[in-house]
């Protein structure tokens, strides 16, 4: 993806990244498209990529016996999809289904891990950026776990309807 550092620099996830690092990761990037209904990846497959979604919406699903596929999160324009490429055992934990046609920048995880191993400053930068995404999603997940909209029949308080 030669010469695309400028485009990458405009992605929110890579905002403020040094030019040298942008050039390095541009070597590992490629534009990709998926059609509505296509899987970007499936649970258990080798996680060799991650995506920055340019347009469209992806559902992260997990298959539940008796219920079928359940969507636990959606990822859309400007957001990052996938971090399993970064950590062993490099396997996807969810299915990623395109709910719409998708355009994205895909990054080759093997290529990027190699760059990060060779340049620890770049590695630290990438891990820091992914940590922010992971933290935000962990906090959202914790909030979802509270199930704040569930019925609470013993609560003697109703003023909101």
């Amino acid at each position: 993806m030669d010469g695309y550092e400028t485009i990458l620099a405009e992605l929110h996830f890579l905002k403020g990244m040094e030019k040298e690092h942008l050039e390095a990761i541009a070597d590992c990037a490629a534009y990709v498209r998926f059609q509505k209904g296509q899987f970007l990846f499936r649970e258990g497959e080798f996680a060799h990529r991650f995506y920055m979604i340019s347009s469209g919406k992806v559902a992260l699903e997990i298959f539940t016996p008796g219920r079928g596929p359940v969507t636990v999160e959606t990822i859309e324009d400007g957001e990052v999809l996938g971090w399993s490429w970064l950590f062993e055992p490099y396997r996807w934990h969810f299915d990623a289904l395109a709910l719409t046609d998708i355009t994205a920048v895909g990054f080759d995880g093997l290529c990027l891990r190699g760059k990060c191993d060779a340049n620890h400053d770049l590695g630290y930068d990438m891990v820091t950026r992914f940590s922010q995404v992971i933290t935000a999603r962990l906090q959202a997940t914790r909030l979802a776990l509270l199930d704040v909209y569930s019925s609470q029949p013993d609560m003697p308080i109703v003023s909101k309807g």
């Binding site: 596929p69 003023s159 909101k160």
Partner: protein
């Protein structure tokens, strides 16, 4: 006997005998979700419903069962009937949801403070609703849409548990079609076939457009949802004096006499339920309260 209830954000509402329920007749019941119903009630013949302000509530009395504080969820300009959306979670609310057209219900109100009105004019507005919290916000949405040109960008963020728990689905479709109104709906979890967002309502905040210096946010939902929403809005630069929330406590008298709904020095029924967030400094989220 006449008592005067002060709504600090807007104006004063006068009640003849605020402790005495007036008999209304159920005109219609609409099932919104598995456990949530919208009730349309009519005042005695020849009367109009009292004026109310968005965010205010009525005390609805099911004789022999109990009385509950329920926010008014209809159009403030429509006075021939009064609308409440009720979730059946306890004995009294289940009894309310079981009412049929023609049944009688006791009504006291309206009571309490209102959502900001003039404070929203010329501003970008972020309305964030969680679960049944959309019901108390709906009168404000009607007010904004009736005079849309007087406001800046308007965002409604609405989170629910599942797609089946979404309220007012017909209206959501109409609001979604408006080019001058940004509706973002999300659910905590969904089966395949739902093409909308999945994630908690706070995840919508980074995706919307507003000018933080010229924005008022209005939030209604479970307290923990409001807490996290406030944090996200503050991250985006909205200050506490431009955030309004609606508090829930166990309301009984609705006029600040019995103390059941006391939150520190505030009576939620009289000084709230709507508060400007900076006025709750030190009270919101305090464990002992």
């Amino acid at each position: 006997m006449t008592a005067t209830i002060t709504a600090p954000h807007t104006h004063t509402v006068a009640h003849p005998s605020p402790m005495l329920p007036k008999l209304y007749t159920v005109d219609g019941v609409r099932q919104e979700t598995a456990d949530t119903f919208t009730l349309e009630i009519k005042p005695p013949t020849g009367e109009l419903c009292p004026r109310f302000l968005p965010g205010q509530f009525n005390m609805l009395y099911i004789f022999g069962v109990g009385e509950m504080a329920i926010s008014i969820s209809g159009d403030p300009w429509w006075r021939s009937s009064c609308v409440h959306t009720v979730r059946a979670v306890g004995t009294a609310t289940k009894a309310i949801c079981n009412l049929q057209p023609g049944d009688t219900i006791g009504v006291r109100g309206p009571f309490g403070t209102s959502w900001p009105g003039p404070e929203l004019l010329g501003k970008d507005v972020v309305l964030a609703a969680g679960g049944i919290g959309l019901a108390p916000l709906r009168p404000t949405i009607y007010t904004i849409l009736a005079d849309r040109n007087r406001y800046g960008r308007v965002n409604l963020l609405y989170g629910a548990r599942t797609p089946n728990d979404l309220l007012y689905t017909d209206e959501l479709s109409r609001w979604r079609d408006r080019p001058d109104f940004n509706l973002a709906v999300t659910v905590d979890t969904a089966d395949r076939g739902w093409f909308g967002n999945v994630g908690v309502v706070t995840t919508l905040i980074p995706k919307i457009q507003f000018d933080p210096a010229n924005t008022v946010a209005v939030i209604c939902g479970p307290e923990i949802m409001m807490r996290f929403t406030i944090m996200e809005l503050q991250k985006r630069g909205i200050t506490s004096d431009n955030i309004y929330i609606s508090m829930e406590r166990n309301m009984k008298c609705a006029v600040g006499l019995c103390g059941h709904c006391q939150l520190g020095p505030e009576f939620i029924c009289k000084d709230g339920p709507v508060f400007r967030f900076d006025h709750l400094d030190g009270l919101f989220g305090k464990r002992e309260l």
